[in-house]
Symmetry: C2
């Protein structure tokens, strides 16, 4: 990797760290420069505007998330799915998606950048596919229609937990209720 790319990466990682630790409200040029240990001039050399910089950091976050889900989906497809393994995977997903305010800070910042919507839609599609696999292995019918419900509920419940200081168990409980509901029906 060239020195130019190294510095650019350092700066983007600094933005991701600042949003993750202090929230999007804390992103200032001065703080980015301090966190990445570069001069303010280096910042403006690599990124014309702060909007440019934040957009690049968000794009890299969305790409990383999509990759993460694609990997899990492929691993799941490659092995013989059994229910215990699916449950572990589901638990992992429940606890790692929207597990921090940072995840939501990123997702909601994306709303302000229409040029990132298509990539984010791709990320959510990957998420649906993963949910479909897990639900299919659990014997749920009509997974194509049910998957977006599971994904939406997980995200909404995590946000509620974060905003109210609830525990991850609250989220698991509501997801279990949905699963019970899905087993009690012939599909929709």
């Amino acid at each position: 990797m060239s020195q130019w790319m190294d510095t650019r990466e350092l700066i983007l990682e600094a933005v991701v760290r600042i949003i993750g630790t202090h929230g999007a409200a804390a992103v200032t040029n001065r703080r980015i420069a301090a966190e990445a240990d570069v001069s303010p001039g280096t910042l403006t050399y690599h990124f014309a505007t702060q909007r440019d910089l934040v957009r690049s950091a968000l794009a890299s976050f969305v790409a990383d998330e999509a990759l993460r889900f694609q990997e899990v989906t492929c691993q799941l497809a490659a092995r013989n799915p059994d229910l215990a393994a699916e449950q572990t995977t589901l638990d992992d997903i429940v606890s790692s998606t929207g597990d921090s305010a940072a995840w939501f800070e990123f997702i909601i910042q994306v709303a302000h950048h229409p040029e990132l919507h298509e990539a984010t839609a791709g990320f959510f599609d990957t998420y649906d596919e993963l949910a479909e696999q897990v639900l299919r292995a659990e014997g749920v019918a009509d997974v194509e229609n049910v998957a977006p419900i599971a994904v939406g509920l997980l995200i909404g419940s995590q946000l509620r937990r974060l905003a109210t200081g609830g525990s991850v168990d609250d989220v698991s409980a509501v997801m279990s209720r949905l699963t019970q509901l899905l087993h009690g029906t012939a599909g929709i």
Copy 2:
């Protein structure tokens, strides 16, 4: 209202407007002072720190939201609920909750302020009660357990829509699927 309260209110409203229009990332003392048309000194006179100021703005947002839901819940309880009226109410709630990135900016900022978690939990409880009323009127069983699923799904789906540039119809579609699912089961 005293002049002191007027100025304080003006400042808080300015913060709410800035978060609503430009996002939490755009909140700076300079911008608040300009938006509220007060001097920077007036800001620090009313609020010791920016964190203080943002917390007060968030508290006022949470209180307003709780009040909004309580009003709708009371109106609903007061009249003879019929399905068409419930549907209209449901549509209103679907389109007005999390209809803008601003709503999520507020909710996620609350996560950074543990002292606001209790009030926010109260707001979500009010939201559950409203969902219970709507679902009960629709003939859904076991509404106490189902309501948090409807609330979580609505919030998660709105966030997805905002981050991917989808339409409100996408959200209505996923909520309808949940309702169909609930009608196809004897409850959980």
